[in-house]
Symmetry: C2
Subunit: 428 residues, 2 copies
């Protein structure tokens, strides 16, 4: 049986998962490939930290990338380090040496996916990155090889497990944002510095990757308008529940004749919708194609073995390509991008305001909205104390720009203490 | 630009969808393939019926398959007729002439998928059949090219839109089975003779195909134990709802060290489960891999354009294979199958019995269950009249064989009028 030697860059959650998965499922994988996969090298940066790790034969640990790049045996390099600059250098070096690369590195791919794909093809190498979006869920390959008969109109993802876990706990257990975040940290769902997740950057990277493939457009992380979940309170959650909605952090990519929009923001989504039921640390990606209609892929978007499942399936694809001599032969199409102006993007909104409990407040607020041609779908006033009241308004679909302007105007009304939140309602 | 000529066998719901889809999305498809797709022939059997159809140039209608098989221009044949014997003959003939085939024909593939795949490879032709399972939902290709790093443990599908539509209407609108079936016929979801759908045969074919790919095992339709939804009544639906369950027709394939089981039957599934929320004519396939964990694919399992989406993505794959000279090169692995004895398959059950409203009835029934070592999880007695009562029992996981025997014994008790239903509870 032919043997393919691979190297791992990094041996953390995902790297260890790859080692474990190959140990568990090796025979079935080899049978399918008629090829044996041997992990020859694992790159780490601190030998001491990994020395005591029980690694299967014949894995060698190294802190020197040169050991790997100069080893002609190594045909596939699996990049599971997660840094940006160093990982990019390594991957470029691999392509130049005709080594194929499998990567789970969304940070890198969201920014440099297309140039890296191009470089890989110049050198007849494969570049695969299924695990960079939604961990174990098959979505990257289905997007370009199963849904590619469609004009993709919309991609909506719950693609960050940490924020979904926090929001689920706020909804189901009535926890405050702070307590839910604390619990997520304790259980290992959130990192010590959770900014990347709770501010929406992680989801933004993933939607940039999917929009690149689905819309055949060269977009990057910088094209995504991002809003995190830090301002969601128990009040918002309760109002959502009462009104028949769930709050989720959605990553939304839309394409129509006028261009593309890319957003990450907390969203109201109707309870019956399949995305509303995606709980805990699960992920889901909802895609609307002009012919297939709505499809959704659901599963574990993170974790050692689930992510390794995607990484190893990529490795298997590369080996299948080796075996029939077609490495580096998948072509992609990219169109020029026309990004929509963020202020023109429309949605219904949920607005929550804290106001003085005085006559004329509602009239004042309604007046401002009417002036901006924004129509009110429903309105709820709750007296908090004799002095303060809370007003919750659901407005019909209005543009981001208009909503922002009107809220500034409302906040300047003397009777309004603050606009506490404005959350888009996503109707799919 | 290179041109690939294709022929359609059949021009019904799916065939017309393929024509429409290529008309709508042709430019984007051609750009991806760097190849133009031309439908040259459409095989039908009644020229008069199709004469008035507005077909785009240069499509030619024919009733003679020889026109197609003898046309060397035709590189791909799309079989969307749906018959069994004739379709099989046509496809075999195509392979022998080195024409690749895309088919949506689950009946054929559930029975002859493997021999046809083998024949295609002998002749260096491609054989693709994404649309044969769950219409537009990407599942066939993800199963063998994305989830293939896993040992697949379980595949559970809601893969028949007709029965799901009927059960959803019975649940949501309180309709009787008969009325729901009538409405499904009126709306075009059920055929005039709905046997194939309501008896579970259609779902059985699809689970046989998925089990073949997922378990690498040569199973066919005949290996599936099938039960339809004809006996589900409003009483069962109401009890399910009260107990926190939904009734769905599930197709279930399981694999463990002892072998494989393949079943289609109505099932209780807990309300919170993602499969429980798959409503109306939607389909979903839930897969459990030993590393990826639970993933689910959801979408439209039928319909003209959704199914055409899968068919055309298959055609695109074949053309990509043409363009890099790898047609017929995907290899599959099949293991010998050990099918489990049906009577050994275990599940908790919901049992509904109609009994005489007399003392000692419960004692009699409990006695029988105890004799078979079946333990009762919960029990509900409802007095229907002064004479008749209904008893609903949820039993702990017990083997199919034991349950059947015990129910026979219970039915022979003089106080029991009938065992009205026994439905498995699927705990995933
Ligand atoms: N975790 C998931 O569930 C998941 C899911 C999808 C995608 N991903 C992506 O997969 C990648 C890896 O994630 P992870 O969770 O496995 O991260 P991790 O647990 O932090 O592991 C990273 C590994 O890379 C090593 N490393 C980092 N920088 C290095 C350098 N410059 N030279 C040598 N070794 C270096 C680390 O070594 P030290 O121990 O010395 O730090 C560690 O072994 C990331 O791109 C991540 O976004 C992760
Ligand atoms: N409909 C769906 O949503 C769907 C979804 C997934 C898979 N499929 C599968 O796709 C296939 C086609 O389904 P469909 O719904 O399109 O069926 P359909 O609407 O009944 O169309 C079948 C077409 O094939 C023609 N045909 C049948 N036998 C023929 C023969 N011996 N010679 C020439 N033409 C023949 C029919 O002609 P006549 O008009 O003369 O009968 C008709 O044009 C089936 O295998 C089905 O299981 C369908």
């Amino acid at each position: 049986m032919r043997n393919v030697s691979i190297a791992l860059l990094g041996c953390g959650t995902v790297g260890k998962g790859v080692i474990d998965l190959l140990a568990m499922n090796g025979p079935l994988i080899e049978e399918q490939l008629k090829t044996k996969i041997t992990i020859k090298w694992v790159l780490i940066r601190d030998l001491q930290k990994y020395e005591s790790m029980d690694l299967p034969e014949p894995i060698m640990l190294t802190t020197n990338f040169d050991d790997i790049i100069n080893d002609d045996d190594v045909e596939i390099v699996v990049e599971v380090m997660g840094s940006a600059d160093f990982a990019k250098e390594c991957i470029e070096e691999c392509f130049k040496r005709k080594k194929s690369v499998v990567s789970a590195n969304k940070d890198l791919i969201a920014d440099y996916g297309i140039p890296l794909l191009k470089l890989s093809q110049e050198h007849n190498a494969d570049f695969q990155f299924e695990a960079s979006v939604a961990g174990g869920i098959p979505i990257v390959r289905p997007m370009y090889s199963s849904l590619n008969s469609n004009i993709i109109e919309e991609i909506i993802g719950i693609m960050n497990g940490t924020t979904n876990y926090i929001l689920s706990n706020m909804t189901e257990k009535g926890m405050s944002y702070e307590d839910a975040l604390e619990e997520a940290k304790e259980k290992g769902y959130a990192e010590a510095d959770p900014t990347n997740d709770v501010s929406g950057y992680d989801a933004a990277r993933k939607i940039a990757i999917l929009a690149t493939l689905g819309f055949h457009s060269a977009v990057t992380f910088n094209d995504v308008t991002v809003e995190g979940i830090e301002n969601i309170t128990q009040e918002d959650i309760r109002h959502a529940t009462e009104m028949g909605y769930v709050i989720k952090l959605l990553a939304i990519a839309r394409q129509d004749d006028d261009g593309i929009s890319l957003n990450v923001h907390p969203s109201f989504i109707r309870k019956g919708h399949p995305l509303a039921n995606v709980g805990g640390a699960y992920n889901a990606v909802f895609v609307r194609g002009n012919c297939v209609g709505d499809v959704m892929m659901y599963g574990q978007g993170a974790g050692s073995l689930p992510t390794a499942s995607a990484v190893v399936s990529d490795v298997m694809n590369v080996i299948l390509h080796f075996n029939i001599n077609i490495t580096g032969q998948r072509e992609f199409v990219w169109h020029e991008v026309k990004l929509k102006n963020q202020s023109s993007i429309c949605a219904p909104y949920y607005l929550r305001m804290v106001v003085n409990n005085a006559p004329g407040v509602l009239a004042g607020i309604s007046r401002v909205l009417a002036d901006y041609n924004i129509s009110i779908r429903s309105l709820l006033q709750k007296d908090e104390t004799t002095e303060i009241a809370e007003i919750v308004i659901l407005i019909d679909s209005s543009s981001d720009g208009l909503v922002k302007e009107s809220l500034q105007k409302i906040e300047s009304l003397s009777c309004v203490r603050k606009v506490a939140n404005a959350i888009r309602v996503i109707e799919v």
